[in-house]
């Protein structure tokens, strides 16, 4: 099996009197959801492989409060936010990277007013930075020439205007990037945002994730790329619903890079 992952905690760094280059905010999905954990590990493998000095909060990490806030529970959100900010500030965290666009958006945009000021980047933005600095090399590999469509997570795209970092990484993998009919600013939601992930949908004609999966399948992809653990779950369920799971994988951009490197 693969090498043991090296995942230091902020507490161990503090004990040694060190500061990591970046804090990796794993998020609840990345910590507990079986599918999302694979994304977390793929990201860590890349960081380990090129020797990025990072640490996690581990058992000191707690939900950012995003689902509570979008559900309308501002109290619970601010409780979570202030608890997290206390921990982050105690460790004097400067830079945060996360593989979850919801955590990314909340920490980046909603924490500053409550006293949490950090340089927050999405993992695709972080990898793009590493690429630009020459620390990360990406070459075609397994996905070279494959038809791939990328699903924009709402909280990375429209919410924060980041459309290019994930696409740039995919281009580096030399995939044939096919856009869905609604993409980028007009990208269609997977159906999980706004705390919908944690409840049944209201009555309608169909589920949002099925609708979005149909749009993805129209591009006749060999794989669907995503950048959010929730989108990943929704699209994976959609592909299963269409009985295409044997032909079409739903993969996070970071998993595709790790696969290409054979990590």
């Amino acid at each position: 099996m693969s090498k043991q992952l090296h995942v230091p905690t902020m507490a161990s760094y503090l004990a040694e009197g060190k500061q990591p280059e970046v804090l990796f905010w794993v998020g609840c999905a990345g910590s507990f959801d079986d599918r999302a954990k694979k994304i977390t590990k793929a990201f860590v493998k890349i960081l380990n492989n090129i020797g990025v000095d990072f640490a996690v909060l581990g058992t000191e990490e707690s939900c950012t409060g995003d689902p509570a806030k979008r559900a309308g529970n501002e109290f619970l959100f601010q409780m979570q936010a202030m608890t997290n900010i206390e921990v982050l500030n105690a460790y004097e965290v400067k830079k945060i990277v996360t593989a979850c666009p919801h955590c990314f958006n909340t920490i980046k945009n909603e924490y500053p007013e409550l006293g949490g000021n950090y340089d927050v980047v999405h993992h695709t933005q972080f990898l793009k930075q590493l690429l630009n600095e020459g620390r990360l090399k990406i070459e075609g590999g397994k996905f070279k020439g494959k038809r791939i469509t990328y699903h924009d997570p709402c909280y990375l795209g429209r919410a924060n205007d980041e459309y290019e970092a994930p696409r740039d990484l995919l281009r580096k993998l030399e995939v044939e990037l096919i856009e869905m009919k609604s993409c980028k600013q007009k990208g269609l939601c997977c159906g999980a945002g706004g705390a919908q992930m944690f409840k049944d949908a209201e009555k309608g004609d169909k589920e949002v994730n099925i609708h979005r999966t149909e749009e993805a399948l129209e591009t006749k992809p060999e794989a669907i790329a995503a950048g959010c653990p929730f989108c990943n779950t929704m699209m994976t369920d959609g592909v299963k619903n269409k009985e295409k799971q044997d032909d079409i994988e739903v993969l996070d951009v970071v998993e595709m890079i790790a696969n290409a490197e054979d990590l």
């Binding site: 609840c28 507990f32 309308g72 529970n73 601010q78 709402c154 409840k199 209201e202 009555k203």
Partner: protein
């Protein structure tokens, strides 16, 4: 005295139209100010730029190329033809004829381009009518457009057709009168104006006597200007206020990242107190501090901000938001356009009560925004994806209203769907929306 009668009549009509318009603007302002305060007067330069780009420059209209191009024609036509309306108003007050004709060739060019624009507007409006009524475009067929909103939209189109036809008829009769050297119309300097479009109407007027032509010209002139003044006052009662309010609405619109939802200050102070180990929970409130806790979230329009209320008047019900909404696309009840229409309808109902009795208390009304206009089912169907906000060509944010109302439901009524309550309980107890132990957050490292 008799010779001044038309001028006196015109001034009276014009003054009445202006009076009525100002009265409605005051009512609109009063209603918008029922909203809570929100600071949107920062970053003036950025706001001005956005207004120039999005409202004046129509940058978001053209994301739908066909509707966008047609809209630009009607918009440019509307703005430019208003130069002609200025001349018409001055002619009406002063009793002159084609006051600006001293501009010579420039005048000819202006009148000529107004005519071309009038024709283009006419054609665009006809295509708009076909799109709206015959082409089965989904966003024009939604439930919330049944009845008045659909009629309102069509009335505006009919109105524009009539106005453009009157304008061209007026010019054609005028041109014919100038050609025949009629007194008060013809000038020694030659033909005033250029008539590239209305010249083709001359055969229709062929054989009419000078006096009949004058009747036609005057009738068209009067109907045209009365029509415009009527239209100006129709705005307040229609979806068409956007021609004025698009500008302030874009100016005051949100400049922050769309994903940034406002943090409630009232909650911040309470949470800080709860988390402060030294705070005395039984302490008397500090002097000057409100003893009645502020209401969290919105159950009625008076709980929304003045910007959200301004937006409800700005909305022209184009439905681009609803067309992009994932919940709406999959058959849920939610329609962001309806959220805006409901907000305005409720605000107008309060406005009407205030017109009758300035002491009216909206909180005593039976039918409020929540449940009376917007159902809980609509609010809970939103994925907060911001597609509606992105789609709006005039900077309206229906999502912010949905969020404010969810806050009321959860924080004032504890009325979240049961599964959401479970998720929130989990977050409270074990710091994740699922029932996992916080101490297990790092277990993934050692799992194969």
């Amino acid at each position: 005295m008799m010779q001044f009668l038309p001028q006196i009549l015109f001034v009276a009509v014009f003054a009445f139209a202006v009076y009525f318009f100002v009265r409605n603007v005051k009512r609109l302002k009063r209603n918008v100010n029922l909203g809570k305060d929100v600071n949107r007067s920062d970053q003036k330069k950025k706001r001005l730029n956005k207004m120039l780009r999005v409202a004046l420059g129509q940058s978001k209209m053209v994301t739908k190329p066909i509707a966008g191009a047609l809209h630009v024609i009607v918009y440019v036509g509307f703005v430019i033809i208003n130069i002609e309306v200025l001349e018409i108003i001055l002619d009406g007050i002063l009793g002159t004829h084609r006051l600006f004709s001293f501009l010579g060739p420039v005048y000819d060019f202006l009148i000529g381009s107004f005519e071309v624009l009038a024709l283009l507007v006419l054609l665009s409006v006809i295509i708009f009518w076909i799109r709206r009524n015959l082409m089965n475009i989904k966003r024009f067929l939604s439930k919330e457009l049944k009845g008045w909103p659909k009629n309102d939209a069509n009335y505006i189109l009919y109105f524009e057709v009539v106005l453009m036809l009157l304008f061209l008829t007026m010019n054609a009769a005028d041109y014919q009168l100038q050609l025949s050297g009629a007194k008060h119309y013809a000038s020694e300097a030659g033909i005033m104006g250029a008539f590239p479009i209305s010249q083709y109407l001359l055969p229709v007027l062929d054989g009419l006597s000078t006096s009949t032509l004058i009747v036609v010209e005057r009738a068209a002139w009067w109907l045209h200007i009365i029509g415009i003044l009527f239209f100006l006052n129709y705005l307040y009662y229609s979806k068409h206020l956007h021609i004025l309010l698009a500008f302030p609405n874009v100016y005051f619109s949100n400049l922050n990242p769309k994903g940034e939802f406002r943090n409630l200050e009232s909650v911040t102070s309470e949470v800080k107190m709860m988390m402060d180990p030294n705070a005395d929970p039984f302490a008397e409130p500090a002097e000057g501090e409100d003893e009645i806790p502020e209401k969290f979230g919105a159950s009625d329009v008076t709980d929304l901000s003045w910007f959200q209320l301004l937006s409800s008047y700005t909305c022209t019900e184009c439905g681009r938001c609803t067309a992009e909404c994932p919940a709406n696309q999959t058959g849920k009840k939610l329609s962001p356009r309806k959220i805006m229409m409901d907000t305005r309808d409720r605000l107008e109902s309060i406005g009407e009560s205030l017109n009758k009795n300035s002491d009216h208390q909206p909180e005593n009304d039976d039918k409020k925004l929540l449940d009376g206009y917007i159902s809980r089912e609509e609010l809970w169907a939103c994925t907060t994806c911001n597609a509606c906000v992105e789609a709006c060509p005039v900077g309206i944010d229906p999502l912010s209203i949905i969020m404010d109302m969810r806050q009321y439901l959860v924080m004032e009524e504890s009325a979240a769907p049961a599964e959401l309550n479970n998720a929130m309980t989990n977050i409270e107890n074990n710091a994740a929306p699922w029932p996992y132990n916080q101490q297990d957050r790092l277990n993934w490292v050692n799992e194969s």
